[in-house]
C-alpha cells in the first residue's frame, strides 16, 4: 500500500457522518454509554448537544431507551463498544429492538482484535454472528471512511433495526468518492478467475494487497467487498463462486457465524464450492498493538496472501 493512501478509523467516520446528516434528519438523536470520546459521538455532542444523551455506563438500559425513543418518532443511534452493544445488551437488542422491529441504529465501535492493547475482554469477535441471527436486523461492517459514512446514511434511510460495526484503528480508503452504496449489495473491487476472496471491514484493503502479491504465484484473484453481512448479496457471491470455483472469506471476527459462516451456509445449499475461512478460529484475542495483532492472526495483506496461496495450491 503506497504511502499516499489516506487512512481514517471508521469510528471517526461514524462521528463525522452523524454531524453531517444531523440537519437533513432532524429526528436523528445520539445515545452513548460514557464512551463518547472513544466512539466519536463526542463530535456530534459538540455540534448538537440538545440531541445527544449520555446514558452512563448502562448499555442494556441504553438499548431500551433507544427503543422507546424510536416508538415516538426519533431515529436513535445507540453507541458503545461492539462488545457491550452486541454482548452485554444482546437480549435488550433482541427483545426490545429486533422483535418489535424498531427503527433503532446501533453504532458499535472498537470491534475486532484491532481494538489492540485493551485485550480480549474488549475485542468483540462474535458480534457479527450474534447480530446476524436476529430476524430483520441489518448488519453492516464498513471497510473504510467512505463506506462507513455511506452506511450511516443508508441506515438513516432504512426503517428498521440496523447494526453497524466500526473500528478503532485507522484503515486505508479504498472506495471511490462516487461509490453508490446500497444495503445488501456487495462490490467486485478486483476481477479475477482463479479464486474469490470475499472480505469485509479492515480485511478488504488487506485482500486487495494479497491479490497483488498472488499475481507472482500466477494466481488471479477476484476480490469482493461485502459490507452488508445481512442481508447477504447472494447473487454476487454465487456468480463469482461459479466463475472461480474457489472461495476464501476474510474477516476480523470469529469465522463461526460471521461472514465466513454466512457464505458457507449460502454455498453449501446453493452451490457447494471449495472454500476456506480467514478470521479468528475459536480463541479469544489478546493485548498488543492493532498492527501486531492483525499480523499475528494473519489478517494483513501478507497473512491473507499466504492463506489464499496455500488454499489454491493445496
Amino acid at each position: 500500500m503506497s504511502e499516499e493512501v489516506k487512512k481514517v478509523a471508521t469510528r471517526e467516520s461514524y462521528g463525522n457522518a452523524l454531524v453531517e446528516y444531523a440537519d437533513q434528519y432532524p429526528n436523528l438523536v445520539v445515545l452513548d454509554a460514557d464512551l463518547a470520546g472513544a466512539t466519536k459521538t463526542g463530535t456530534f455532542k459538540k455540534a448538537h448537544p440538545e440531541r445527544f444523551f449520555d446514558c452512563g455506563i448502562a448499555e442494556s438500559d441504553m438499548m431500551g431507551i433507544a427503543a422507546g425513543l424510536s416508538t415516538v418518532g426519533k431515529i436513535p443511534f445507540a453507541s458503545t463498544f461492539a462488545m457491550f452493544a452486541s454482548g452485554r445488551a444482546f437480549e435488550q437488542v433482541r427483545n426490545s429492538i429486533a422483535y418489535p422491529h424498531l427503527n433503532v441504529k446501533i453504532g458499535a465501535t472498537h470491534a475486532g482484535i484491532s481494538v489492540g492493547e485493551d485485550g480480549a475482554s474488549h475485542q468483540a469477535l462474535e458480534d457479527l454472528a450474534l447480530m446476524r441471527m436476529l430476524p430483520g436486523m441489518v448488519v453492516m461492517n464498513p471497510a473504510d471512511d467512505i463506506e462507513a459514512k455511506a452506511a450511516v446514511k443508508a441506515a438513516l434511510d432504512y426503517v428498521g433495526p440496523v447494526y453497524i460495526r466500526f473500528g478503532r484503528a485507522a484503515c486505508p480508503i479504498i472506495n471511490k468518492p462516487d461509490y453508490d452504496f446500497k444495503i445488501g449489495k456487495g462490490t467486485v473491487l478486483r476481477e479475477g478467475k482463479d479464486v474469490t476472496i470475499i472480505a469485509t471491514g479492515i480485511c478488504v484493503s488487506a485482500s486487495l494487497e494479497a491479490a497483488e502479491m498472488l499475481k507472482a504465484d500466477g494466481i488471479d484473484a477476484e476480490v469482493i467487498n461485502i459490507c452488508t453481512i445481512k442481508p447477504l448479496d447472494d447473487e454476487l457471491i454465487l456468480a463469482s463462486a461459479k466463475k472461480t470455483g474457489k472461495v476464501v472469506t476474510a474477516e476480523e471476527a470469529f469465522v463461526a457465524g460471521g461472514l465466513g459462516g454466512a457464505v458457507a451456509e449460502l454455498l453449501s445449499e446453493k452451490l457447494p464450492t471449495k472454500m476456506t475461512r480467514i478470521g479468528i478460529h475459536d480463541r479469544f484475542g489478546e493485548s498488543g498493538t492493532a498492527s501486531a495483532l492483525i499480523e499475528k492472526y494473519g489478517l494483513d495483506g501478507k497473512g491473507i496472501y499466504a492463506s489464499v496461496r496455500d488454499f489454491v495450491k493445496a
Binding site: 438523536v29 440538545e50 440531541r51 444523551f53 446514558c55 452512563g56 448502562a58 442494556s60 438500559d61 438499548m63 431500551g64 431507551i65 433507544a66 427503543a67 422507546g68 425513543l69 424510536s70 416508538t71 415516538v72 418518532g73 426519533k74 436513535p76 437480549e91 435488550q92 427483545n95 426490545s96 422483535y99 418489535p100 422491529h101
Partner: protein
C-alpha cells in the same frame, strides 16, 4: 367516573382475565388480578387515549414492563373498546393477536412489546425523553412487578429517569409481595422499594393499589410533581377477587380447570351483585 363505576369495570376486567387464562389453559392470572384496579384507573380515567385511534400521536403511552400480566392489559383494553371482549378467549392461541406477552407488532394499542423483565421501564424512559425533546405534553406510564425490581435494568433505567428529571414518567410497582418461587422477601428481597426509588431521585407515593380513592389521589399527585419522575408503590393482593387465588403463590402462572373456573366466576359474579346492590 365514580369509584363505584370504576369498581364495576375492574370486576369486569377481572372476569376477562380469568376467562382468557381459562380459555388458553395457560397464562398469568395472579399478577393480572392484583393490578386490575390500576389497569382500570389508567385506561378509564387517567390516560389520554382513544381506542378508535390507537396510534394517535399525542396519546399518553403505557408500557407493561411486567409483560406476563398481559391478560390484565388485554382485558382492560377489550373493556375499553380496543377490540371485542370475546377476543380475549383467543389468548395465547395460534394466530391470535393476543400473544403470550404483549407485542406491538400484533395488536394496535400496545405501545411497546414487553415480557422480558426489566426492559419495559427502559423503553418508557425513552418515550418520556422523546416527549421532552419535542416539548410534547404526553405522559408515560409503566407498570412493574415487585419481583421484577430484582432486575438490574430497573435501576439503570430509574437512575436515568431521575438524572434526566423525567417528570412526565410514572412508574407503578404492583407490590403484591409474591413471585414465582415464593414471597419476594424470601426469594431475593427488593425491599425497601420506596426508599430505593427515593434514592434514585423519584417522588414516591405509597398506596393501597386496590383502593380507587388512593389510586386517584396518587395519579393526581404525580401530575403535580415537577422536576422528578414519580414512583407509585401500590400494595396489592395477588389474585385479588378470586377467593382461592388470593395471596396464593401457586396462582402466579397457572390456569384454572373447569371446576375452578366456575368457582372463580361465581366469586366475581358475587362481587358484581354486591356492587349493584351498593348502587341502589
Amino acid at each position: 367516573m365514580t369509584d363505584l363505576e370504576l369498581k364495576k369495570i375492574a370486576n369486569e376486567v377481572r372476569k376477562g382475565i380469568v376467562t382468557a387464562v381459562y380459555s388458553a389453559q395457560s397464562g398469568h392470572p395472579g399478577g393480572s388480578l392484583s393490578a386490575a384496579d390500576i389497569f382500570t384507573y389508567l385506561y378509564f380515567e387517567e390516560m389520554n387515549i382513544d381506542p378508535e385511534n390507537p396510534k394517535k400521536p399525542d396519546r399518553d403511552r403505557f408500557v407493561l414492563s411486567k409483560g406476563h400480566t398481559a391478560p390484565g392489559l388485554y382485558s382492560v383494553m377489550a373493556n375499553r373498546g380496543y377490540f371485542p371482549v370475546e377476543e380475549l378467549k383467543t389468548l395465547r392461541k395460534l394466530g391470535s393477536r393476543l400473544q403470550g406477552h404483549p407485542s406491538m407488532q400484533y395488536l394496535p394499542g400496545i405501545d411497546m412489546s414487553s415480557g422480558s423483565l426489566g426492559q419495559g421501564i427502559a423503553a418508557a424512559c425513552g418515550m418520556a425523553l422523546g416527549a421532552k425533546i419535542d416539548n410534547k405534553d404526553f405522559r408515560v406510564y409503566t407498570l412493574l412487578g415487585d419481583g421484577e425490581c430484582e432486575e438490574g435494568e430497573v435501576w439503570e433505567a430509574s437512575m436515568f429517569a431521575g438524572a434526566k428529571k423525567l417528570d412526565n414518567l410514572v412508574v407503578i410497582v404492583d407490590n403484591n409481595n409474591l413471585q414465582i418461587d415464593g414471597p419476594i422477601t424470601e426469594v431475593n428481597n427488593p425491599y425497601p422499594l420506596d426508599k430505593k426509588f427515593e434514592a434514585f431521585n423519584f417522588h414516591v407515593i405509597n398506596i393501597n393499589g386496590n383502593d380507587f380513592d388512593e389510586i386517584r389521589a396518587a395519579f393526581e399527585e404525580a401530575r403535580e410533581t415537577k422536576g422528578m419522575p414519580t414512583a407509585i408503590i401500590a400494595k396489592t393482593t395477588k389474585g385479588k377477587g378470586v377467593s382461592f387465588m388470593e395471596n396464593a403463590v401457586g396462582w402466579h402462572g397457572k390456569a384454572p380447570n373447569d371446576e375452578q373456573y366456575a368457582v372463580a366466576m361465581a366469586d366475581l359474579d358475587k362481587i358484581s351483585d354486591d356492587l349493584n346492590k351498593e348502587a341502589k
